[in-house]
Symmetry: D2
Subunit: 340 residues, 4 copies
């Protein structure tokens, strides 16, 4: 059985595993003060600029919850596309901490600068806006939940709007590696550090067993952030688990190399889909490919390939997702091509 279901179906990149093995019996201080965590943070900081500070957390929803809750004042809400992960698939983790998720209609999974600007302009002009949740942050995911990417111009525009209205800009980078490695992207890590107030570099979906690296970019780490992590139930006693993983990922560009692998495999696959005349649900240049199939085609495919079921369309059609990852091999791709 072939599996293109998601990018978190396999364990950890072998190089990380090797380092976990090598360091296993070393004595290390707990709670993230081990030398690997320190090293990982220093390496990421070096990529993100002098004003950045880095923290390692366990998972994406946890990271979104903690960053949003600690960066917002208690009376503020966070704006996101209606398709945003925090709005749709995080079980209310943001509202759990008291903050409203304010949605804007997405276009291709993205927030449109014009709509954002128009919303904020109307909001603050409304004489009664003090009776409402005050927007305090814009949340974007890059790549989005639909595998699409913000252009540098879009990012700049959103960042400028945020500055104009004193909102923070936060990027969910659960699959950030795949965005940076995409040939369709003109956005660099440095751009992100410059334009966002905070973002995270996803590990779980890019080679780690667990772990996300949060970056506050402007000497703007929320006060007592360590205590806040613990308060949210997110502090690991053996922080080394995260430290070793991110230290390895950011040694010799491993994070970028394995992300590139996923993109190359996806590009090959995209090409094949095109040649074979498949219908794309949405155009992407990252590791997620959304294809429209007839029910019959889907039923047949399922016998050999596990894919992600996305949604049902009119006319007995379905949308399925093919995801490649750091672990996808040429063999996997060739085997898939044979059954397409």
């Amino acid at each position: 059985m072939l599996s293109f279901e998601s990018d978190y179906i396999q364990g950890v990149h072998p190089q990380i595993l090797e380092n976990l093995i090598k360091t296993n019996m070393e004595v290390q201080t707990g709670y993230g003060f081990d030398k690997y965590s320190e090293s990982a943070k220093a390496k990421i900081k070096a990529l993100c600029g002098e004003q950045s500070e880095v923290f390692l957390l366990n998972g994406g929803t946890q990271t979104n919850q903690i960053v949003i809750d600690t960066m917002l004042e208690s009376y503020q809400g966070v704006i996101c596309a209606d398709t945003g992960h925090i709005n749709s698939h995080e079980a209310g983790a943001i509202e759990f901490t008291g903050h409203k998720v304010i949605t804007l209609d997405n276009e291709l999974g993205k927030i449109v600068p014009k709509k954002l600007s128009s919303y904020l302009s109307l909001f603050f002009k409304d004489e009664n806006h003090e009776h409402c949740v005050i927007p305090g942050m814009v949340y974007i995911s890059h790549p989005t939940e639909y595998g699409t990417l913000y252009t540098k111009d879009e990012l700049k525009a959103i960042s400028a709007i945020c500055k104009e209205y004193s909102l923070k800009l936060y990027m969910d980078g659960a699959r950030l590696g795949y965005a940076l490695a995409s040939n369709g992207s003109d956005v660099t890590l440095s751009d992100i550090s410059n334009l966002c107030d905070a973002f995270y570099i996803g590990g779980t979906k890019v080679g780690a067993l667990c772990g996300e690296a949060v970056v506050f970019t402007k000497n703007n780490t929320p006060s007592h952030f360590f205590t806040c992590i613990k308060q949210h139930g997110a502090l690991l006693a053996k922080g080394r688990l995260l430290g070793v993983q991110f230290d390895t990922l950011f040694t010799d560009d491993l994070y970028f190399k394995i992300s590139k692998n996923a993109i190359e495999k996806a590009d090959t696959l995209r090409q094949v889909f095109k040649e074979k005349g498949y219908n794309f649900y949405i155009e992407t240049t990252t590791n997620q490919i959304f294809i429209i199939l007839s029910e019959a085609e889907y039923e047949k495919l399922k016998k050999n390939v596990a894919v992600g079921f996305w949604e049902r369309l009119e006319g007995n059609r379905v949308v399925v997702r093919f995801a490649t990852s750091w672990a996808t091999t040429d063999n996997d791709i060739n085997a898939l091509i044979k059954v397409l």
Copy 2:
């Protein structure tokens, strides 16, 4: 440098590491539906009885937060000893979810049944108690934060009081393995399953890199508990990380064997302390030993041995903690004895 600072200074038990390696590239479903999680849960359930249901979470504070929040009604609080971890060292993770921690004076780190009974009796007799937080649960840690243990009689008494007043009984088993392996304990896992409504079997401090196994003992899993885990930011995409660890720990009694190792090493150490005339701060039979030292002795010791600093006493004395673990070797103990 010798290290007896805590029981989470080293990585993961080698047998677990081996299984992580072996299963690493297998394709497994996410979110805890992998076959290792299923197997681990089945093995733990077999030990805890037909009415039990098992969930795997990442860390202790997280587990306490989620279990307490989901088992309590929103107007209820949780009773614990003033020394209880949720009261003292979890950064307010319980209050973060809206629940008051109601403290009783501890004796040797434990809740005293008589005090509990007296508190509850007075509380519910008070005509104004509807103006107060309603106690809904008793939280105990076993071993306690001071390494002490509840006797079976104490546990029965507390359980009976809880039943009388319709409170839930929840046990924090961050170091449960070390309690069960202690020669000073008459409490079995089966007793715990019978007497508590919920408890967790600690992994992080007993051989795992991370992970705690929550057991609801009476067909009493909180409704939509999976969703609640996600809402609290605690759901891992690669649940296999927890699954493989607990599956290994509960195969061939590994959890109990490695706990026994820690106890044997601690027992040897305790004997040596006694023979050498050291003053014990508190009598324990688990893997934590609390010794009173003069400042001078402490300064000297610190040059060779990392220990846990506990507190400062009058008369220029300090309390330090020596902790053994699943990883402590005879060599470690012998080396320590030489410098005592």
Copy 3:
């Protein structure tokens, strides 16, 4: 200066004031156990059926917050029209208690049964719905924020859908008196008691200085509701303030009579607007009338009449609201007509 700005610009109905004066120096028990609160609750219960239980709270947002928070499980959200008060103008009071507000597109300020049904059907069919906020309640306002009313058939349909999916149905009746008195309504208080799980009878906008009467209709008062009121900061020491007001409102049908006054005045006004060729923004039969004016007309009107500014339309037009109330007199109406 004439004022049709809102229905809370004047104090309290004279009959209530008289009873406040009469009872002022009487000794009464605190916290809602005074005889007037008891009497008020009994009178409302008599109208709402044997299974109902009544509580008196201070304001609308407070009432929505407490009822929704106590009726929902902590992992549940509440569905409402995007125009619903809890979504737009309560400063995130619902999210403050941890619950997501899930919005459906409104039609004339109302939830459309078909859209609700379709949303719920899709939601529960989605295999991943346990990663999402579980809908636990439908919130409707009657009259809506746009002064419109649900028909009995619509209410029945929504109630049936709620039953099918095990959701609670809750009605925000901030202006309920004006709904019940409307000639355009076929919904009675008894219908509401039968079809909703909870609702409130608004006092603040219908003759009281403050106060809303919550009705749980099916022996379904949330557990320890008194304690929950206090926990939410909403318990008045001198509950008599609410008791005397609602006792008066529900003696000799005062609540219904003064509501009728508002409707009669609004009906007269509506007729005049029609005759004079004004454009209605939305058709209503309650005490709120929404009229489209040119900017010039609006500027002229403002010199003599205070109205509610609603929104700006394309083409230099604005929507304004004229609200009548229990306190509106024939003189007020005649004076207004003169300047129209």
Copy 4:
């Protein structure tokens, strides 16, 4: 039946009632922007200094909840005496907003400066304190729940400690009038404004039907405080209800005069108790008197006088509370003396 049960058993001071009647049909803007609220706030500000800002809320628990929640960072807790109202009788309203209440042993209902200083010193010296709730505020009640008062020296000492450790000092003045009118007090309103960061002037127990006036003393109103009031469900549409009451209380020193009445009556009563040889449970100089009675005496007393039952002591004795108020008359006192 005589009643000395509490200071909230009667309605509103006649002068306030008169002004409510007089202003009843006036058109006033909602949400606290009416002219009476503006006037009341200006009058209180004049008493509390140029840097002060005043807000009107409905009740004591609500006020404590909102002030504490908005002045604290989300990771901070509030220190109070174990007998403090927020710890004992507010149903967890503080924890509901996520903040831990950290208790110190009281002496006569008060926080002892030395204990506070010692607690804070130890806390911040503890290397692990970032794993704990960070204290961010000291809450004191004045008079305390036991009717006792802080001296100016005590208040200065606590204020200085708060400054040293960057904590806010907040005073719960539910009965502040009775403190200021007490002959046993050397603390003025001006002292309180100088030494506290925030406090409230209680209305409910000092002549109002409802209402407390919050004072932020140092140009330190929490950001978007209006929105926060609404978010906590505490904004009244008809803010005039609070405005008229406080405007009247702070015209011609009414607040201070009626407080003085309660003290004079209590002083007379205290003298009689002393002469008749009654045992005082605690010495007070405010409007609350705590007397120890035998069960038999209590049973006899109850036939003629409603008093507050406080607690049961060993030896078949009970503590009861006699409370005077703005409404207590010479006749009430004389009648009580006759049955003592």
